[in-house]
């Protein structure tokens, strides 16, 4: 079938074309249904693509028939196929949840435009992941970022601080993207190409060039801003706290993941072969910052009274784990990062959706307003607890798999201190999750307040992610297989 050959690009172009159509649909139910269809379409595409990659190896697609170094190439291999699956999958699970949530949290006349921004954000994230052209990455990075600012600002009906959060995110996000584009410019200056495979081939022979090193540094810092690596995470807590619940669930599970994927791509596919700059950059800069982020994020999370903000700080810590995996510069380390991309998307998606359910009924996510809530909303809080355990890394949940590989990577290098630090920061996660459990389960409900369980349309998507948390925690053979292929593909071991 001819259409199948075009799937790598259709996956991105489909949503891109759908976005303006969605803005024309004024009826909000229609706009929602249309968005859901687009998202599920992208999800089916990514399943097919990943399946093909696993069977027959990487797929390359030349846009407009112009072959790779000159034209723009889209390339799907195990690592980005996996990220495509995460992004479109989470989007498809969040959307059924988003309908009721948006109806409460966003003014009615903004709905179809909000769904348009949602589709654009999805397009951008999928584009970042699928493309093999360094400048094309920048364009999609900005498509996703600009729509993200809009999505965050849509929380203004609940709390006007969403506006200032979106503004600050816009300033920092633009600086990050501009740093990235400076880096790409320097790369182009030194090599004369923008295609990733071609860049990789040319970076190697050049070896240690000042232009390349500076370009690499600009790219890493720009991406560190985008993925909220400590201490460049300042935009994240406010943006996640004040955005509408469904937007937070979607962004927390996908946006930073696409940026981590880019970091992997640039560090290993492009700079892995060449300049001796990778090891010091990653070892001396990224590893200490990752460790600092793991502790600063978790410690800050313990002291938050707004639970969305608590989980946002916890995301800063979790990003620390992902970058730590990268900084081991080993196959196991990369597997840990790739697995944690997937696993963290599952647990943070579920946690933020559970909080979205709580907000839907209680109209607050402040910890004191949740007193005894588990008696009134048992299913929601059970979902929160299970995904919270997964966040901590309890066996039989996906969190355990991530931590297992992270610690194996540290064991390989006999970095005992790192193992101790990973375990210690997991204990901090116990503290902030326990605070919620204590208030929700052990305290008496607030007298006179009648709260019922969240509607099924919100509860079912939440539980879908919770069950995925357990399923992939019990049987991790599929995810580890993909992660191993992805890691080997990134460092260039024969696939």
């Amino acid at each position: 079938m001819i259409a199948v050959d075009h799937l790598p690009v259709l996956q991105v172009v489909g949503p891109l074309i759908a976005a303006p159509i969605c803005s024309l649909l004024r009826a909000r139910n229609l706009a929602w249904f249309f968005t859901l269809l687009v998202s599920i379409g992208a999800f089916l595409c990514s399943i097919y693509l990943l399946n093909t990659v696993l069977e027959t190896g990487p797929i390359s697609y030349a846009i407009g028939g112009w072959a790779a170094p000159l034209g723009i190439e889209y390339r799907v291999d195990a690592s980005n196929g996996f990220v495509l699956l995460i992004i479109s999958g989470i989007s498809s699970v969040v959307l059924p949840f988003a309908k009721r949530s948006f109806e409460l949290e966003v003014p009615e006349n903004q709905h179809s435009l909000l769904y348009t921004a949602y589709i654009l954000c999805l397009t951008g994230l999928l584009g970042i992941t699928a493309t093999a052209d360094a400048f094309n990455v920048f364009v999609f990075l900005e498509v996703s970022s600009l729509s993200t600012y809009v999505l965050v600002a849509a929380g203004a009906k609940q709390d006007r601080r969403a506006l200032t959060a979106a503004y600050n995110y816009l300033i920092l996000g633009t600086i990050g993207a501009t740093f990235f584009v400076i880096g790409v410019g320097l790369l182009y200056m030194a090599t004369g190409t923008l295609n990733m495979a071609d860049l990789a081939a040319r970076v190697g022979p050049i070896g240690g060039s000042r232009t390349l090193d500076v370009g690499f540094a600009f790219i890493v810092i720009g991406l560190a801003l985008k993925l909220a690596l400590f201490p460049l995470h300042n935009w994240l807590p406010n943006a996640y706290t004040y955005a509408p619940s469904a937007v937070t669930a979607f962004l927390a599970a996908t946006a930073t993941k696409a940026a981590v994927y880019l970091l992997l791509r640039f560090c290993f596919t492009i700079f892995g072969s060449g300049s001796g700059f990778l090891a010091p950059m990653v070892g001396l800069v990224c590893m200490p910052l990752a460790l600092a982020g793991m502790f600063a994020g978790s410690l800050a999370a313990i002291y938050q009274y707004n639970l969305k903000r608590m989980l946002a700080y916890s995301s800063v810590a979790q990003i620390g784990y992902m970058v730590l995996g990268i900084s081991f510069l080993s196959i196991t380390g990369l597997m840990a990062t790739t697995l944690h991309l997937f696993n963290h998307a599952l647990m943070k998606g579920a946690l933020f959706m559970a909080l979205g359910c709580v907000f839907f009924r209680v109209r607050s996510v402040n910890i004191n307003d949740l007193s005894g809530i588990a008696r009134q909303m048992p299913w929601t809080m059970a979902a929160f607890v299970i995904s919270g355990l997964s966040l901590i890394g309890v066996p039989l949940t996906v969190g355990f798999i991530s931590k297992w590989y992270l610690i194996s990577a540290a064991l390989e290098q006999e970095a005992w201190v790192l193992i101790a630090l990973i375990l210690a920061s997991s204990l901090l996660a116990v503290i902030y999750i326990w605070r919620v459990i204590e208030v929700a389960y052990l305290k008496d409900p607030i007298p006179g307040r009648t709260v019922t369980e969240a509607p099924l349309s919100m509860l079912l998507p939440t539980w879908a992610l919770v069950i995925a948390n357990i399923y992939f925690g019990v049987d991790a053979s599929l995810t580890t297989r993909v992660a191993r292929m992805a890691a080997e593909g990134l460092v260039g071991v024969a696939q």
């Binding site: 400048f135 900005e142 200032t164 503004y167 633009t174 584009v181 400076i182 410019g185 004191n368």
Partner: protein, 133 residues
């Protein structure tokens, strides 16, 4: 020493503009001025790309049949895209500033922070969470 400046004057202009832009973003409290600073910062990158593609004495890259020295058009095309992205960012940023002014009645960063912090303080007082840092 002087040659270092003169031979690569385009890069020096880029660096100076970039620093001016970043400085405005960081140092100014007025939200509109911050956006202007961001624009200066982005413009420096545009100039970087454009001067990158220019060949001394080169012509426009038009096929004439005989080999000629020509400027590289690719960075120029790339930067057209980046300019469009920059405009979109500016427009969205200014739209946010308008919304902020509508709901806060100010666009000075320190006043905005003061108002937000006051909200946090009252929230904490209501919740009685003294342990919140």
């Amino acid at each position: 020493m002087l040659e270092l400046f003169l031979d690569k004057y385009n890069y020096w202009i880029v660096v100076v503009l970039m620093m001016i832009g970043l400085y405005i973003v960081i140092a100014r409290g007025n939200l509109v001025k911050k956006i202007v600073g961001l624009n200066v910062f982005q413009t420096s990158v545009f100039m970087f790309y454009i001067s990158l593609g220019k060949a001394e004495g080169g012509t426009a890259p038009i096929l004439t049949g005989k080999p000629e020295l020509f400027s590289n058009p690719l960075p120029h095309v790339l930067i057209l895209t980046a300019i469009v992205v920059g405009i979109a960012t500016t427009a969205l940023g200014l739209a946010l500033v308008v919304r902020i002014r509508e709901s806060y009645d100010t666009i000075e960063e320190d006043e905005l922070e003061g108002m937000d912090n006051a909200v946090v303080t009252t929230e904490r007082a209501r919740l009685g969470t003294g342990d919140a840092a």
